[in-house]
Point group: C3
Chain length 153, copies 3
């Protein structure tokens, strides 16, 4: 099954992002690597489920925020391959940052919201190395930020 068919089956509509014009960009292609900037859980222009895990954000809300970060990673990736999903070889790494209280310990379960989506979309090619940590705070009060590296042709 193609990635496009799989996205359709999962009812995932991946938006096309505008090419960034700042000194800092959404992704960088070097050889066959795509380095994707840390993505926040923006959905329709707003941060989904802001706050801290262990305080005002529930585990389910954190998982949903991580999934939204992954959708935005896919939006960057789609732009990087000019909309041609067949150019994607594999996901190399996700770096997951969870805004959390000092006593929160379930960061891996939160970041699974992103890992599982990448796995659902890409199958075996979606299996990646990962780090998941709990940070003091994230931009715009987001509860999750995720960066990614993919290999493309």
């Amino acid at each position: 099954m193609t990635i496009e068919a799989r996205l359709s089956e999962l009812e995932l509509n991946i938006p096309t992002i505008p090419k960034a014009v700042a000194n800092y960009v959404g992704y960088k292609i070097v050889g066959d690597w795509v380095i994707i900037s840390g993505q926040l859980p923006f959905k329709n222009g707003e941060i989904l489920n802001p706050g801290h895990l262990g305080a005002t954000v529930s585990l389910e809300e954190g998982i949903a925020a991580a999934r939204q970060c992954a959708i935005n990673i896919l939006a960057q990736l789609k732009t990087a391959v000019d909309g041609d999903w067949s150019r994607i070889i594999q996901c190399i790494r996700l770096g997951g940052f969870v805004a959390s209280t000092p006593d929160f310990t379930q960061h891996p379960i939160v970041i699974n919201g992103a890992s599982d989506l990448i796995g659902d979309v890409f199958g075996d090619k979606g299996r990646h190395a990962r780090a998941a940590v709990g940070v003091a705070a994230l931009p715009l009060g987001a509860s999750v930020e995720i960066e990614a590296i993919f290999q493309i042709r």
Copy 2:
């Protein structure tokens, strides 16, 4: 001296990890790079010295936790090279995360517990780039998490 002889001299017994089966894996090989997922200080199935530096975890305990993370990095690496240590060219980078209170400042000394072990095992080939930061919390209440990149043949 071979790496195997050096491990033996250091009395380091590197366990063989099972190949991961989740969407998220212990390491990813891309070309001659091995990207190793963030490793926790698991020892005999338990997290060594959990808690926060600057609070309930002493500097010595933090260093020991970082060293244990490095041992688990070596376990992943051993699996990545199918047990053939001679395939390792060099260590490229360690990313060290220390669960700490806001007033703790000795993160580099904690992460030296890992850097020194990598240096002891690999000599000049073990010299690596590094980042060391203090985070709010880590998975399962761990005091240290370390990710790594190695180059192999």
Copy 3:
């Protein structure tokens, strides 16, 4: 305009760092990639503007600290290319860590202090992928730490 002329125009004096001799080094060259270790805002041997954003460090002071981290990244890079700036192809990625209180949300503006400097120096070649997060604490009480990846020839 050459990078050297641009540095001169910006009145940026990039110090030459001593080659590191510890197990952990300032940068690592692998192929055409330079992986630069997390740099603190050292200026004349002292940490510029230590503390936490959202508490004792103002936004302007945080931006200045991030800029100083970028100057120290350039110092590492200068050493990596043996002083020959023409060998630099592009900046690939900055990883920015801001020591912050849990309620601080302007981490991207802080890290712009580094991104803007890299853009000012390298122009289009300075456009990079980026992650910016808020951490509990940083080495030596620094308010900002930034790591980087460049591509060189």
